[in-house]
Subunit: 132 residues, 2 copies
Amino acid sequence: MSGAEITIGALSEQTGVNIETVRYYERIGLIPPAHRSAGGRRVFDTDDVQRLSFIRRARQLGFSTDEIRSLLDVAKGARACKDAHALAVKHRDAVRASIRDLRRLERTLTEAADRCSKGASPGCAIVEALSH
Amino acid sequence: MSGAEITIGALSEQTGVNIETVRYYERIGLIPPAHRSAGGRRVFDTDDVQRLSFIRRARQLGFSTDEIRSLLDVAKGARACKDAHALAVKHRDAVRASIRDLRRLERTLTEAADRCSKGASPGCAIVEALSH
DNA sequence: GCTTGCTCCTGTAGCCACTACAGGAGTTAA
DNA sequence: TTAACTCCTGTAGTGGCTACAGGAGCAAGC
């Protein structure tokens, strides 16, 4: 029992997580089923705000919902910190690979766009670049 | 009528595009409906190989199927090169933005992972980083 | 001519992480 | 009491594929 009773709308505002997304997280079991008011509405507390904020930050860092499940386990002590470390490193390596790919991509796009704007090519330089 | 009659399997091998994906592209109208053999099977030619290779390269550069539709229009002269240029520049800017985001992300992940492996934090540094 | 094994066909459903309804019910302020 | 608002469930859509199930065409060997 931590603090006030919070509606789903207030929870959404405080955490920046969409109302529909909160319900979705409940549905897939990322957050536990919320308590209900007499009228059947979800009631949250400050613990839920904490948890949802945690999830949101993890999502912003690109962790998948499954990875977040593991991170939440680490947070509540049900799993070793080592696992969180492994996840973070694995994810960071994936991010690094993405950056490398995107850099190459950016170069290719820039080259094509530059040749095009200079009107050096007879046809369209971008179409040309994609044709072989 | 350009060249030999090519099955969907051969087309897939020559272009590196999955068979199911070829059928998917036909379904969404990214490629025109293929001609059929007497037995009802799709028959392709070298023009189709060209087109599909074009599409594949564009996908590898991260263009959406809708953007590729426009690029194909430019390729066949039904749309100005200017439009392709605009698309490429817009896409390149999006890629640049992604790179910036991922760099920040990579830094955050590295910092958290490093603090964790050094065992400097009392709890888990990664969980800590996500908690506020 | 028949069988075996391969390729291909259509149609549907699943993936991820949401997002967007429709149609109804609880809640609050004037 | 009425209006405006928030919330409820359930379902379907997004993009770009991918993965079946259940059937049919086709080529080679016997």
